[in-house]
Symmetry: C2
Subunit: 125 residues, 2 copies
DNA sequence: CACCTGTATTGATGAGCGTCAACATAGACA
DNA sequence: TGTCTATGTTGACGCTCATCAATACAGGTG
């Protein structure tokens, strides 16, 4: 149960498209269901410690990092583990155990989807 | 005290640039202070009701909306007012009273800054 | 002035969250 | 097997938050 897909925030992106959960925030008012989905992602990044952990993973070589590489954020080890779990449950990270260490990696499609959410002009095709 | 700048999330953008609070999440690990700042914005959008309110304002004609236009989100009027205040405190919205009604409008530079935070490739100049 | 509508504030309540110490689990190695 | 390191889980504590009813405030109209 390492890379469990906990939330269907967005489809696995069949070809190369991103298949975001919702249109840009500025395109039309979000429905309740869309907001529920998208808010989970924003909420996951709404904690300073989680944001640092996520940034540490995202900026690490190869887009992945061992827990031991990123756990210097000023909180205890159980708290780090707890936050990484939250990021995983939000669909922002995946994890994989390799020997003694557990490596976390970003879900690039989610990052792109969130970026599109904040797009100003939809630029209709 | 209508358009009070509550948080110095980003500079007023002198020329036309955005002057974001922090580099893209993927560029390098965020510092504690950067994370504190950016997390406030994400946290503000981390509630479904607030996300709907923000989207309603952002997608409304002219980028602004009267409270009466967007308060149909399934919660009481005081709760709507409370969430709009939170969005304002996070620097995502500004408000202005015009006669009987209060109009909220998005801070476009903040939207752009958040979008840049989620940029995948920094595309070094 | 009084009255009405739109919006904000107050105070209370219950749920959720961030944090830690203690403990548990997984894998490597001898 | 036992032991060590890395990571996850449990349980508890205090704090924050989302929500509402009641109330207050602002501005318009009569």
């Amino acid at each position: 149960m390492s890379n469990a897909k906990v939330l269907p925030l967005l489809e696995p992106a069949d070809g190369q498209g991103v298949a975001p959960c919702c249109p840009p925030l500025t395109e039309r008012p979000m429905t309740a269901k869309e907001a529920e989905t998208a808010a989970r992602m924003f909420k996951a990044l709404g904690d300073p410690v989680r944001l640092r952990l996520f940034s540490a993973v995202a900026s690490h070589e190869g887009g992945e990092a061992c827990v031991c590489d990123i756990s210097d954020v000023g909180v205890s080890q159980p708290t780090v583990s707890h936050h990484l779990k939250k990021l995983k449950e939000a669909g922002l990270l995946t994890s994989e155990r390799r020997g003694t260490w557990v490596y976390y990696r970003v879900e690039p499609s989610v990052l792109a989807a969130m970026g599109k959410l904040l797009t100003i002009a939809p630029a209709v095709a």
